[in-house]
């Protein structure tokens, strides 16, 4: 019943100009007011979400989408608990790239990272432009790889919040075990203290699970 705030590092991946940043902006500043100067940081944003009696604080790390910087991505998704892999529903190329990101994340990122596949710019289709990435194809990928999947529009805000909520619900709750609790607390600050009083049998039996 504790009211915990869980910090979740979420990284944004996707080809340049698919609208990564717009999605976050939409999510973070829910009212996209026209005359408001963007006062928040260029790429690092936070937003809180309440799920049940639990608060999740998303720390959102935007990344550069150009191909030339692709090799730098691990520095950004390092220790991320969630990732948003974004593509543009009107650009097949961006979907191919999204596939790559999904694969890379699953191979190299944190085990148990929650990945959401997001097809952005859904509003353009409603305006009559041709869809180039079939919804079914993306759904299939999501199903195969165990991803969350949404088609969103950062412009209208459609499905943006839903995406983040869905991620939030998949985040393992903090108070499920006290050990987890500690890890969340110390996640970013490397201040792990070794608890010598910890029951050795318990710890030993956990060993295979955490030695990756």
């Amino acid at each position: 019943m504790n009211s915990n705030v869980t910090s979740v590092k979420l990284v944004l991946l996707g080809e340049a100009a698919v609208g990564k940043s717009s999605i976050v902006l939409r999510f973070v500043s829910n009212d996209f007011s026209e005359n408001k100067e963007p006062t928040i940081g260029a790429a690092f944003l936070t937003q809180r979400v309440n799920i049940g009696n639990h608060t999740i604080k998303f720390e959102i790390w935007d990344t550069a989408g150009q191909e030339r910087f692709a090799s730098l991505a691990p520095m950004y998704y390092r220790n991320a608990q969630a990732a948003l892999v974004v593509y543009d529903v009107t650009k097949p190329q961006s979907f191919i790239k999204a596939r790559h990101w999904v694969k890379e994340l699953q191979e190299q990122a944190n085990k148990g990272i929650i990945i959401a596949l997001v097809g952005n710019k859904a509003d353009i289709i409603e305006d009559g432009e041709e869809r180039k990435v079939a919804r079914e194809e993306a759904e299939k990928l999501a199903e195969e790889e165990g991803l969350l999947f949404f088609e969103t529009s950062a412009k209208t805000g459609n499905n943006v919040n839903e995406t983040f909520l869905a991620i939030g619900e998949k985040i393992p709750l903090k108070n499920s075990s006290s050990a987890n609790d500690q890890h969340h607390d110390t996640n970013n600050n490397n201040n792990q203290r070794i608890d010598l009083d910890n029951n050795p049998v318990d710890a030993a039996s956990n060993a295979p699970g955490c030695s990756c």
Binding site: G41, A42, A43, T46, R48, N50, P74
Partner: protein
């Protein structure tokens, strides 16, 4: 909980969207208001949930808060104003820094510390300082609330809390923590924890204080009076005996609590910054060198008696005398380097040649790229930045240049440098769209354009010496951006340039760009080498600290050390590793035997020297080890106090921080259990499964354990060390094998 979950799942998504209520919070160090509200929420009463939520909305929007509750909660900024500018550290804290610096200057290391070892010392100190600051502020708070003058505080004995008290009260804290879930105090505690590492411990102390009241005054000068905080703690404590009734506070009181806590948080932040500032300022004064010839231990003790004697006189004096002491010893050994007033980060890296070389290559490479892209337009084109954009103008150019120069040359403490990075982000942001797509290019553009000197070392400096707990969120993000930019620059080769450039390169340029820097220099534990280790998750920056509890009973801390050492040796036990490992264990054990740390907290910084952690063991150290070993035998126990060069607690930098804690813990305990590795196989069996033969063997093990206890972990005699080390390294190997398999 169950019902809540069910409700949640049954709820249509649209409804849940309403629960977005929190405006962006850029500075999110303080979660107190959030936690508070949540606690008032009756778990299955949706009405109260709603009303609470509306409160939530307003109080969370700190900047625009119009709170319906009786008393308006001050915003973060207001509180910060109320705290006012803190320019000086309180005497106790300042003194901790002195002790730390003195300790650093002690010539107790046979080999110079690498920068990473040094950084680990710093990080341990930061944590301790954080804790001390928290305790100090809480005590001060209580004093103020109880109409006691804060002036009492400086006369405290310096060691804020003795270790024994901590352990005494920990039992209390156990009850305390368990019994309060759902009560208001729990949230307060939680928030504390967010502002300081040691929520639990310190709280327990407070409880202790408040319970014992007057009696503690005698022992610890904690003039506890009926401060609100203390009362609450007592209330909740009494609660724990009755077990159910929750103390309800008026919203007014809660607000006060939160504000107090937030103020404490702000103060601690400031103290931490001042701490970094002071440390580096004093290092600047005394220079970074340490005399190379070890002086005898009594020299060290003199310093400490000095400090004790002088505790009544002004700190300044003590400070100066200490520095003079050290300076004279330095000049005697003719090894001192005067840094003057100009702080040069390269000094810190002096013992880590790799870093210096890397930095040099980086500077050269940036300069070379700058020559090749001899006009801004070329550079922009190369980086795919729009060539004719209003984003580029002279004003911003020069501003950024100033900032970068300030960054590399004039700023000293890590937090200041980190702030400058954030500022640079601000400037770049103004010139750019919201996307990070162009941001990184822009950063690289300015790096090449302005060619800041020693940029690499400066970045590394922040990474290593900024208090890790505060290097989070946007600070970490901005740092990561910089690191990414540098990695990109370092990995550029000729092939990345377009043909026209390739043809016009001079031989020198060609040479510089022929291969990546990381292919030439492999930095230990560097940001730069995550690229190469693709099988593991990308290793980043931050060297881990194994923090030993400040326990002074030598046996327990020895065990701690031994287990830590082994547990951290995750590198695929090659021979050099094992050699080092054995040596290190022996060194530590020897040391532990003859060295009983003094009992004051102020000495703890010297204990930290045991925490030296090196991340990798370079292969070429084989020779070193041999000679070290000889040296070690010669020196025997006389010098066991010194940190032996071989005492590298090998620590594989596992970037998976979340898992790391577990892993270290488990490995260490595994080792503990499995000193006799072979005999472990019965551990997983049920008694019923055992046959007679097994039982016999178990009995043998049992006998072994009690007849030769020294073969297990106890370091009681040095002669036993060999068997210990070999045993434990064996088992360590097996445990690292295990981990390899499972990963």
């Amino acid at each position: 909980m169950e019902s809540k979950l069910a409700e949640l799942q049954g709820e249509p998504i649209k409804d849940r969207v309403r629960t977005f209520h929190t405006p962006p919070i850029t500075d999110s160090r303080f979660d107190g208001s959030q936690a508070l509200k949540e606690s008032y929420k009756a778990p299955d009463d949706s009405d109260s949930f709603d009303s609470n939520r509306s409160n939530d909305e307003s109080s969370d929007a700190n900047s625009t808060a119009t709170l319906a509750s009786p008393r308006k909660k001050a915003s973060h900024e207001e509180l910060e104003k109320r705290v006012g500018p803190i320019k000086e550290l309180p005497v106790e804290l300042s003194r901790q820094i002195d002790v730390f610096i003195i300790d650093l200057k002690q010539p107790k290391y046979l080999h110079p510390l690498t920068v990473i070892q040094l950084a680990n010392l710093f990080q341990s100190f930061y944590s301790k300082f954080d804790k001390a600051a928290f305790q100090l502020l809480n005590n001060a708070n209580n004093n103020i609330n109880g109409n006691n003058s804060i002036n009492n505080t400086p006369t405290h004995s310096g060691s804020l809390l003795s270790v024994s008290r901590e352990t005494l009260s920990s039992g209390l804290s156990g009850i305390f923590a368990r019994s309060r879930s759902g009560s208001i105090n729990n949230n307060i505690r939680r928030q504390r924890r967010s502002s300081s590492l040691f929520g639990n411990d310190t709280n327990s102390n407070i409880v202790n204080n408040s319970v014992n009241g007057p009696s503690t005054m005698v022992t610890n000068n904690n003039n506890i009076n009926s401060s609100m905080m203390a009362t609450n703690m007592t209330m909740s404590l009494s609660n724990s005996s009755t077990q159910n009734s929750l103390p309800l506070l008026s919203p007014d009181e809660i607000t006060t609590h939160l504000e107090n806590n937030e103020i404490v948080g702000i103060k601690i932040d400031k103290y931490m910054e001042l701490c970094e500032r002071d440390i580096f300022q004093r290092i600047l004064e005394v220079g970074t060198s340490v005399s190379s010839v070890p002086t005898m231990l009594n020299g060290k003790d003199d310093d400490f008696t000095n400090s004790r004697d002088n505790s009544n006189t002004s700190m300044r004096d003590f400070n100066e005398s200490a520095i003079i002491n050290n300076n004279t010893s330095n000049t005697n050994n003719s090894n001192s380097v005067t840094t003057g007033n100009y702080f040069d980060v390269t000094n810190l890296f002096r013992n880590s040649v790799d870093f210096l070389e890397y930095d040099q290559l980086m500077d050269r490479r940036i300069k070379c790229l700058n020559e090749i892209m001899d006009s801004d337009d070329k550079l922009r084109k190369f980086l795919d930045l729009p060539v004719d954009s209003i984003k580029f103008n002279k004003e911003i150019d020069s501003e950024i240049k100033d900032v970068l120069i300030n960054f590399t040359q004039y700023s000293i403490p890590p937090f200041e440098k980190s702030k400058i990075l954030l500022k640079l982000h601000e400037i770049l942001k103004l010139t750019d769209s919201m996307s990070n797509d162009e941001f990184l290019s822009l950063l690289i553009y300015y790096l090449i354009k302005t060619k800041p000197k020693h940029i690499f070392l400066n970045i590394e400096f922040i990474k290593l010496f900024r208090y890790k707990k505060k290097l989070v969120e946007n600070e970490l993000y901005s740092l990561t951006n910089f690191i990414a930019a540098l990695v990109y620059i370092e990995s550029l080769t000729i092939n990345d340039l377009s043909i026209e450039y390739q043809e016009n390169l001079s031989d020198r340029q060609r040479k510089i760009l022929k291969q990546t820097i990381s292919s030439k220099i492999h930095l230990p534990n560097s940001i730069m080498n995550w690229n190469n280790s693709s099988t593991e998750s990308p290793t980043m920056d931050i060297p881990k600290i194994i923090e030993h509890p400040v326990s002074n009973t030598s046996s327990s801390s020895t065990t701690a050390n031994a287990t830590n050492t082994t547990s951290t040796n995750n590198n695929n036990g090659n021979s050099s590793n094992r050699g080092t490992f054995e040596l290190s264990l022996r060194g530590i054990l020897g040391k532990m035997k003859s060295y009983t740390p003094p009992n004051t907290l102020s000495r703890s910084s010297s204990q930290m020297s045991l925490d030296i952690v090196n991340d990798t063991v370079p292969e070429e150290n084989d020779d070193d080890i041999a000679s070290d070993e000889a040296e070690l035998e010669e020196n025997g126990q006389n010098k066991s106090m010194e940190i032996l060069p071989g005492a590298r607690l090998v620590h594989s930098i596992n970037d998976d921080e979340q898992i790391e804690g577990d892993e270290t813990m488990t490995n260490s305990t595994t080792l503990n259990m499995s000193a006799i590795d072979d005999d472990r196989r019965f551990l997983n069996k049920d008694f019923d499964e055992l046959n007679m033969k097994d039982l016999k063997e178990i009995f043998n093990i049992y006998k072994k354990i009690f007849h030769h206890p020294d073969q297990l972990i106890t370091p009681n005699n040095i002669d036993g060390n060999n068997s210990i080390t070999s045993n434990s390294s064996n088992s360590n190997n097996s445990s690292s094998n295990n981990s390899n398999e499972s990963s």
